[in-house]
């Protein structure tokens, strides 16, 4: 199988794994449910009081999703840069090699 096809197939499996719960479990809340931990700790140790508050909390769900999107975008942006850089570099490298010249050090700009 060609790499591209193989990767598409693998990504498809990941998508299925993500969608499957939504289909079989239609009525679930799908919360991150940090509260669940509190509930269990509350059951085990009813008198436990959290002794520290988060320094800053996103003021709303929208701001929180903005920050999560930002986190994903920063990471994905770099991964995209990385893939593009090395694909391009390999292309050049192969061309250079054919004309009998070797490319010296790669300057990644990092």
């Amino acid at each position: 199988m060609r790499t591209g096809v193989k990767n598409l197939f693998l990504i498809f499996i990941v998508l299925v794994l993500a969608v499957f719960p939504l289909v079989v479990n239609k009525n679930a809340e799908f919360g991150g449910a940090d509260g669940q931990a509190e509930k269990i700790i509350g059951e085990l140790h009813p008198d436990y009081q959290p002794w520290f508050e988060s320094v800053w909390e996103p003021p709303s769900g929208e701001i929180e999703s903005l920050l999560f999107a930002l986190q994903a975008a920063l990471g994905a942006g770099f991964i995209g840069y990385f893939i593009g850089f090395y694909r391009g570099w390999r292309g050049n490298h192969v061309k250079q090699k054919q004309t009998g010249e070797l490319l010296e050090e790669r300057d990644t700009g990092v």
Binding site: T3, K6, N7, L10, I11, I13, V14, L17, F20, P21, L22, V24, N25, A28, E29, F30, G31, G32, A33, D34, G35, Q36, A37, E38, I40, I41, L44, H45, Y48, P50, W51, F52, E53, S54, V55, W56, E57, P58, E64, L67, F68, A69, Q71, A72, L74, G75, A76, G77, F78, I79, F82, I83, F85, Y86, R87, R90, E105, R106, T108, V110
Partner: protein, 248 residues
């Protein structure tokens, strides 16, 4: 392999039928939800690993400055994957860790630093995890997870498993063991009155493990995709880092 996955999914589906209303919670221990002495304990335990991580990164970069890009990739991968809160069969969401890739590339210590940075970002900006629990969370996600992933990858290669399978097992179990560690940490801090630490651990694990399995499978698959790209395009660096043996 795929047959096993289906068997696993069927088992999960059955389990979910028995626990229709169980919610897990996001991966990290929340701010203030770990008694002070435990916070300090995990901080102290994590510190040597962070030092080892910094030294290991310095050494890798000194030997070959070309690995800086790979280091960035390992960090970026962990960044993206921790930002993806995926739904799971238990009807709640959690996120993968993405630390397996860096552990396979840079050995067991380097990811402690990168994972800690990711956790710090989430604790400060997203109120996800916490500063007091940073030591404990770094230990589970950035020490135990990567260590397990590294050992399993090497073991897989030693046993001459196909490379993609070694990568998958490493990333999958690295993710899952992070969760197991979190459960143990919480159980140690909050033992049940009947049955003590073990009973509490069963309680926390029952919630964690099931939620995390499909996500860990996804993490394994995504790690394979990135790793295959590296094998095709970055052979020189991978040989330098001794991830691949040099072709004679």
């Amino acid at each position: 392999m795929r047959k096993n996955t289906w068997v696993l999914l069927s088992i999960l589906f059955l389990l979910f039928l028995f626990f229709p209303q169980q919610n897990a919670w996001a991966m990290h221990i929340m701010e203030g939800f770990l008694p002070l002495k435990w916070c300090l304990f995990w901080y102290v335990l994590t510190l040597p690993f962070l030092v080892a991580g910094i030294l290991s990164i310095q050494k890798a970069v000194k030997v070959d400055p070309g690995v800086k890009m790979l280091l960035g990739l390992a960090g970026a991968f962990a960044f993206v994957l921790s930002a993806l809160k995926l739904p799971s069969v238990t009807g709640s969401c959690s996120h993968p860790t993405g630390v397996g890739l860096g552990a396979i590339l840079f050995g067991p210590w380097a990811m402690s630093v990168l994972g800690c940075i990711v956790l710090l970002f989430q604790a400060v900006l997203l109120a996800h995890g916490g500063l007091t629990t940073l030591g404990a969370n770094t230990f589970s996600m950035a020490v135990v997870g990567p260590l397990a992933a590294y050992v399993l990858f090497r073991l897989g290669q030693r046993l001459a498993m196909p490379r993609w399978l070694s990568v998958f097992v490493a990333a999958f179990l690295g993710d899952l063991l992070t969760y197991v560690t979190t459960s143990i940490q919480l159980a140690l801090a909050f033992p049940a009155s009947h049955g003590g630490v073990v009973a509490a651990m069963v309680k926390f694990m029952g919630i964690f493990a099931i939620t995390q399995v499909p996500l860990a499978i996804s993490e394994g698959i995504l790690t394979i995709i990135v790793f295959n790209f590296l094998v095709a395009h970055n052979r020189r660096e991978l040989e330098q880092l001794r991830v691949l043996s040099r072709e004679v």
